[in-house]
């Protein structure tokens, strides 16, 4: 589904990603772990199409298409979804209007007509339940005045509404208490199918107790320095990132 080869990216002339290689197949869950500043959010931003980052080398193929050539909206329409580490607040744009616009533009891209008002409302209700999002939040302005946890839940709500093929969750667990974590993870698991894939970016292995990955990658200074089964996350938790540094001789 997704194939990243030798991806280099920089911002303001400073190289952040220094040769990433990653293969993700439908039905898989990948975890990416790594210390602060290792480039996790940069990788997700580059995949989502943030223009500030310059890709200097490498390629990203998504379902046979060159992802890097697509606009951010076309990537989303093709099925890439990024749950932001820091979702922005957009006062004056209602969550509902925002989602309806998004859904309809994605549908138009696929040659479908706009969704019926009543089908849309039914969908909102169903997905709200999935992430236990308060109905009042759905009617408010996008993320405005939401708590940290509510913002993260709203990201998963949007993901549930848009049903992407590839979801990248950038530290969706940070700032969540254990109940919220369980709800968010529950939502992700319920949306999981053999046709879609999930990349879980996290700092702590805690989330991986709830969302069990097929593979764990360690990102360090812009490179994936180690990949392994889910037990690798536990090892990281136990020994800290220093053991990776020792292992790779950094």
């Amino acid at each position: 589904m997704l194939s990243i080869k030798n991806l280099h990216a920089s911002i303001d002339g400073k190289e952040i990603l220094r040769g990433i290689n990653l293969e993700i197949k439908a039905g898989e869950i990948h975890a990416i772990m790594g210390p602060n500043g290792s480039g996790k959010s940069t990788l997700s931003a580059v995949l989502a199409g943030r223009a500030e980052y310059e890709v200097t080398e490498g390629e990203v193929i998504f379902n046979g298409k060159n992802l890097l050539e697509l606009s951010p909206e076309d990537r989303a329409r093709e099925g890439v979804f990024l749950a932001f580490q820091y979702p922005v607040e957009i006062p004056g744009v209602s969550n509902i209007n925002f989602l309806k616009t998004a859904l309809n533009e994605i549908r138009a891209y696929k040659g479908l007509g706009p969704i019926e008002a009543k089908d849309f409302l039914a969908l909102v209700k169903e997905k709200q339940k999935l992430v236990e999002l308060d109905g009042k939040l759905a009617n408010r302005s996008v993320n405005e005045g939401f708590s940290g946890g509510e913002k993260k839940r709203n990201e998963i709500f949007q993901m549930a509404m848009l049903e992407p093929q590839l979801a990248i969750l950038d530290e969706t667990d940070s700032g969540l208490d254990i109940d919220a974590l369980r709800i968010v993870a529950g939502g992700v698991n319920k949306l999981k199918s053999k046709d879609n894939a999930t990349v879980v970016i996290t700092h702590y292995q805690r989330l991986l107790d709830y969302i069990v990955p097929d593979v764990v990658h360690v990102l360090y200074k812009g490179k994936i320095v180690k990949s392994g089964p889910k037990e690798l996350a536990l090892e990281l938790e136990e020994k800290g990132y220093d053991f990776i540094k020792d292992e790779i001789g950094a």
Partner: protein, 429 residues
């Protein structure tokens, strides 16, 4: 060169006036002193502090007429009457058109052709008493030349439920200077929603409109006032609103500048007693070579009054917008709360925004604040929306609507709000 140009524009206009038939309903003496006041100052040039961001001399270059009007068709009038549920007042080429205006009026409401109101004692008490001819050359010019307009009177305790819609519709076949004015008087405890719209039938002839509305809000009266300015690419408009508020009254105004080559708003509100509430809201959306200039003055003269002001603008292309917000808090006006905010979004590199809050506070026990901001559309927000599959164009549209909604949401007349929203949507296409 500057002085020469000044003399020539003003002299041109004086010559034009001399050679034209000027209506005399305001009384020759009053008109003469107004004309004298105008000649003394003349058309402001760019050195004039109050008009330095609008080049009015340039706009008045060339030949103008005082009577280059075309007949307006019924169809055109119907289109301009965009509110279905309203008491209609048609001011056609500066003159009240009674035939096309609503004839059955609710109890307590009186509408009179301003040029036939001079024998009315209430009219006499208030007419030209607030807009001072020596305070501004366009007030003087208007007081010398106004063709017509309406005098609206709301009796004591009368609550007029249906909004009044004054349609100022103009159609011209040659470049024309048009002066017209209204006087609105609310007696004690009366209530009124007043919508003034300004439109011009599309043509290449340039309109230079000089419109003046005086509004008297007696004790405990409530006025909800709207201006919808939409005269298109060949319309230039000086729009003066002069308001006087008495004890415990409430006046709110909402000024929407949707089009026009040049629009200058002079809005002055005098809070002339205690416990008065005042809200000023404005939204201007400019593009092309448009120049929009909002000058507001809130004059707190007595204690215990509150004023809140919010003006927002979206500036595109080479257009330019000015906001100058004066707040006076006089020595007597203790316990005043006065807040002002002006926020702008600049969509192009060639656009200009001049914003100048001007607070003059002579009382010591007051709460006053002002803030201005000018920025671009937030890239982080645009990206967030695009990352959900929304095109860049729709993302920007959503954000512009969101920005404007803070002002649009202050509109209390639902049908008017829908009209404005639809108009804004069209602008963002």
């Amino acid at each position: 060169m500057e002085t020469l140009a000044k003399i020539s524009t003003t002299e041109n206009i004086l010559k034009l006036i001399e050679g034209s038939a000027v209506p005399s309903w305001m009384g020759i003496a009053q008109q003469r002193s107004a004309l004298d006041a105008f000649s003394l100052v003349g058309i402001p040039n760019r050195k004039s502090e109050e008009y330095k961001y609008v080049n009015i001399e340039l706009l008045l270059k060339g030949n103008f007429s005082l009577s280059g009007f075309d007949k307006i068709t019924n169809q055109q009038l119907e289109t301009a009457a965009f509110l279905k549920d309203a008491i209609l007042i048609v001011v056609e080429n500066g003159v009240y058109n009674k035939t096309h205006s609503s004839s059955s009026l609710p109890k307590g409401l009186e509408i009179v052709d301003i040029s036939e109101a001079s024998s009315n004692t209430i009219f006499q008490e208030h007419f030209a008493k607030y807009a001072a001819i020596n305070s501004d050359p366009f007030i003087a010019l208007n007081t010398a030349l106004a063709l017509g307009g309406v005098f609206v009177h709301v009796a004591k305790n009368a609550v007029i439920e249906t909004p009044i819609h004054i349609i100022h519709l103009s159609s011209i076949s040659e470049n024309t200077i048009l002066n017209y004015r209204n006087l609105i008087v609310l007696e004690e405890n009366a209530q009124l929603t007043l919508i003034e719209s300004y439109e011009k039938i599309d043509s290449s002839a340039k309109l230079f409109g000089n419109a003046l509305t005086e509004i008297v809000v007696a004790a405990s009266a409530i006025v909800d006032h709207y201006k919808i300015q939409d005269e298109g690419d060949s319309g230039n408009l000086i729009s003066t609103t002069q308001v006087i508020q008495k004890k415990q009254s409430n006046f709110s105004t909402h000024v929407f500048t949707l089009s026009g080559l040049m629009v200058r708003n002079n809005l002055t509100i005098v809070l002339d007693d205690q416990h008065i509430e005042t809200q000023l809201n404005g939204l201007y959306i400019t593009n092309g070579n448009q120049v929009v200039d909002n000058h507001t003055l809130v004059d707190h003269r007595k204690p215990n009054c509150n004023s809140t002001e919010l003006y927002k603008g979206i500036i595109e292309d080479k257009s330019s917008a000015t906001f100058n917000g004066k707040i006076y808090v006089r020595k007597d006006a203790q316990k005043t709360n006065a807040f002002q905010s002006n926020k702008n979004i600049l969509l192009s590199d060639d656009g200009t925004i001049n914003t100048k809050p001007q607070l003059e506070i002579y009382a010591d026990d007051v709460k006053c604040s002002h803030g201005t901001s000018t920025g671009k559309l937030d890239e982080d927000k645009i990206f967030y929306l695009r990352a959900r599959g929304i095109s860049e164009a729709s993302a920007k549209k959503l954000l512009m609507h969101a920005f404007a909604s803070e002002v649009v949401d202050t509109v209390k007349v639902e049908a008017l709000k829908e009209y404005i929203e639809a108009n804004i949507s069209k602008r963002f296409e």
